[in-house]
Amino acid sequence: MSTKKVQRLDRVVIRFAGDSGDGMQLTGDRFTSQTALLGNDLSTLPNFPAEIRAPQGTLPGVSSFQLHFADHNVLTPGDAPDVLVAMNPAALKANLRDLPRGATIIVNTDEFTKRNLSKVGYAQSPVDDGSLESYHVHPVALTSIAVEALASFSDLTRKEKERAKNMFALGLLSWLYTRPMEGTEAFLKSKFADNPDILEANLTALHAGFNYGETTEDFAVSYEVAPAAMEPGTYRNVTGNVALSLGLVAAAHRARLPLFLGSYPITPASDILHTLAGLKRYGVATMQAEDEIAGVGAALGASFGGALGVTTTSGPGLALKAETIGLAVSLELPLVVCDIQRGGPSTGLPTKTEQADLLQALFGRNGESPVAVVAPSTPADCFDIAVEAVRIATTYRTPVIVLSDGYLANGSEPWRLPSTAALPDLSVEFASEPNAVNADGAPVFHPYQRDPETLARPWAIPGTAGLEHRIGGIEKADVTGNISYDPDNHDRMTRLRQAKIDGIAATIPPLEVEDPSGEAKVLVVGWGSTYGPIAAAVRLARGAGARVAQAHLRHLNPFPANTGEVLRRYDRVIVPEMNLGQLAMLLRAKYLVDARSHTSVRGLPFQAAELADVISQAVKEASA
């Protein structure tokens, strides 16, 4: 038992930072799992370079993982870390500017060599030169203590022993924040099942780190963060990409359709392909296609055959898929396209987040080519949005674009598990019989004869006798689906396709406004992954006395039917976005309201405090 003092905290933000090869993502991930099991609410922000291994010890090679956990509901991974674990000088230098004065820094002094210091432009070690005086610095020789702890492992090389330093750090932090380590032990046992030496070394380093915390005089106090009050239920921690994958599988199950994914690897979407590729036992077929175009093409082919065709990508891939999505608009077949957005244009910032594909999703195709567009607001919401995308795609026989992003994809939060049986019934009716008669009175099939309510055309799949028909990208005659170049027919079909998408608004929930005062004059409207930061900022602004309302759009095309009415209720509408004002442009164009943009494209989510200032300022101006 520890004899040290234990202090209670309500929230902590920790950032693990090190070289790309130091295992910081794994360390952060494990710490997160331990924290989730303890019942804290949490939110994470992994941040890593696009290069797999940038030169060791350099600034471009720094990889970090930030975790915000609390005894209450948290909305963001936190603006500023309370604790920074810096595994080398580059990690310290790259992250120091985000640290408020008074924060705790744990540095791995073994890596603060002359050579490593000079790689990042330090003339002398900041640990010794007094420049970190305003922080609580804990210099720990993480590497050498870990190696020392593994002295008895004679079969391991020094390099292999050094690699266990991240587990040592994890053990130390587990002690410091009173985290249970059983989950990590089980994880290591399964990961290194085939390599008992490495397994033992990692377990030993983990415990050595924990014991080091308990015995060293350098750490006088350890901390506890009590579980958060959460809705009753069973929870797990989940990243956006995993939640999206699971949502697709659950929705396919509820639709009683086989799920077919055609995909080409691209950051930050590839994890969906990886996850689904491992789920064949649930009837999921995945194909790693030769390119983005083939990925969506194969998915569309599968949809034609009666499967649930899905493709996953990021911005550059969405550009390549545009023509095929246009074909799907013309064929009026279900198709789910998941765009996990990243910084652009072109290759842009592959591992950084952005939400600048909104206009591409809505309009990035030739001709009048409307598709449904939805966006999840949190990592766990990626599950629900996947189910919603499948509902829209199968009901309306249309492509649906899901706009997630790198922040949601890799970030995680606790997810209250839904009951599969309680998910919507998405079962699909395939056409089975002719739906018309010809001039001679004989039964015929008209592939473009629409459902009067949804305007969806029949989904008549090959193998159904009597419904043989041909469809294609050339304009089709209304009802019969034959090729038609008739001007009036094209006008009518263009309007019908648009009306079908507009009509989806009838089945989506109205835009809800959260305004506890009921007297707000300023409304903050966001979409997608900015939900957490906006909600946190609104909370801060309200705490400072501002009356402000918040609404968040999950449906971007069509918008909820009451959107215009909601916007017009407020004197001022602020639209924070990680682009240069794409939603604001749409709202202004569609509803003639004076929506004002607040934008940031730094590859990182908004900081709540910064956003709170913007909101408070707007509230002040609106009431002046």
């Binding site: 799992s33 989730a36 099991l37 019942g39 989950g183 579980p227 959460m230 809705e231 009753p232 239920g233 069973t234 929870y235 797990r236 599988v249 659950a250 009683r256 086989p258 077919f260 789920l279 064949k280 036992r281 009837g283 999921v284 077929a285 194909m287 030769e290 390119d291 175009i293 083939a294 093409g297 194969a298 082919g301 599968a302 034609f304 055959g305 009666g306 499967a307 095929t324 074909l327 064929l331 599950f383 598990l417 839904p418 009951s419 599969t420 699909v428 009716e429 395939f430 089975s432 799949i461 090959p462 193998g463 159904t464 006798a465 043989e468 028909h469 041909r470 469809i471 294609g472 090729i483």
Partner: protein
């Protein structure tokens, strides 16, 4: 009607080695005719287009397969040839330029009960869609790909194509085209195709026999069909259609038989290179005897290199027909062997829960 189309629980039936082995057959006593495969759409190719002959041959051949008509699907890209599906009363998709092999791959992968055909042209398959073609062949997806080669872009009104001969004067190459053409057969063999054949629009009997072999083949079957464009490249294959000249120019590829044209035969030299020599001068031990099932594709490739740009000699027939695992069968097998029981709501609940959960009491 709600149809359960889940991935199959059972592996393929034993007779699935044939290209159409997993496609439902007509009931005993039922038969279809060419008329059953003729749609009500007016055919709109130019008068004299080679596509008419190919359409007639395909419509005439399909009943022979004895398959249920509703289980046959034609997928095409863009170009004159790609209008083909509209004229067949089967299921069909006229898709976008070059992408038909990718779309057909998704369809074939999810529906083993379909006979999936791709109709494409030299521009569609070899230019804009080159990547999809080679990868479909590499994967060996169970598709029959009909590549109509007229060595010109017809639908865009007469630009040179990736099979046009060097120096061809067209609207876009007024001083003659500069780039070396593809040999579609060589390309397909290089892409690991398990079945490659060449035939011609005007030779109904040969075309039908090649279609028969291609349909029988399980895996990707590429059939190059020389096809005349009467408007922009008229007569490009005429020397092969003129009976008096054809005999000396066409090297008939018949399994187990010597490769010969007229009084010349193909011989192999010490280094493996093939050449055409008068039969009377040929060393009988060096005369090439065609083996369509040779696992090593180099013999088939060497035959494909006997093409001469002036059509002085052109191999026709099935170059290669070997059995190897198909992508779509293997994918279905992976799913089927992983999915041994029906998935229940409880299974999905367990999947969603994963390994690390915690419970918050109410």
């Amino acid at each position: 009607m709600t149809t359960d189309l889940r991935m199959p629980l059972h592996l393929l039936p034993a007779d699935a080695e044939s290209g159409t082995g997993s496609v439902p057959l007509l009931e005993a006593g039922q038969a279809l005719t060419k008329k059953d495969f003729t749609s009500d759409q007016e055919v709109r190719w130019c008068p004299g287009c080679g596509d008419y002959a190919i359409l007639a041959a395909v419509q005439g051949f399909l009943p022979e397969l004895g398959l249920k008509r509703e289980n046959i699907v034609f997928v095409s890209g863009i170009g004159c040839s790609s209008r083909f599906p509209y004229y067949l009363d089967t299921y069909g998709m006229h898709s976008i330029h070059g992408r038909a092999p990718a779309i057909a791959t998704g369809l074939a992968a999810t529906r083993e009960d379909l006979s999936v055909w791709v109709v494409t042209g030299d521009g569609d398959a070899l230019s804009i869609g080159g990547n999809h073609l080679i990868h479909a062949l590499r994967r060996n997806v169970n598709l029959t790909i009909l590549l109509f080669n007229n060595e010109i872009y017809g639908l865009t009104k007469g630009q040179y194509s990736p099979t046009s001969r060097v120096g061809q004067v067209t609207k876009s190459t007024p001083l003659g085209s500069l780039d070396t053409p593809f040999n579609p057969v060589s390309l397909a063999l290089g892409a690991e195709a398990s079945f490659v054949a060449r035939t011609m629009d005007s030779d109904r009997q040969h075309l039908t026999s090649v279609l028969r072999a291609a349909a029988e083949h399980r895996g990707s079957a590429l059939v190059e069909i020389y096809q005349n464009c009467p408007i922009f490249n008229d007569g490009v294959f005429d020397v092969l259609k003129d009976r008096t000249q054809a005999e000396a120019r066409i090297l008939h590829l018949v399994d187990g038989q010597e490769v010969a044209a007229g009084d010349r035969v193909v011989v192999r030299d010490d280094r493996g290179a093939l050449s055409l020599v008068p039969r009377v001068e040929a060393d009988p031990s060096r005369i090439v005897v065609h083996d369509v099932a040779a696992q090593d594709p180099s013999a088939a490739f060497a035959l494909s290199r006997l093409d001469s740009p002036d059509l002085a000699h052109v191999p026709m027939g099935v170059f290669r027909d070997v059995a190897r695992p198909t992508y779509d069968d293997a994918l279905r097998e992976q799913v089927a062997s992983a999915r041994t029981v029906e998935v229940t709501d409880a299974d999905i609940d367990a999947l969603l829960a994963g390994r690390d959960t915690w419970t918050v009491g109410g």
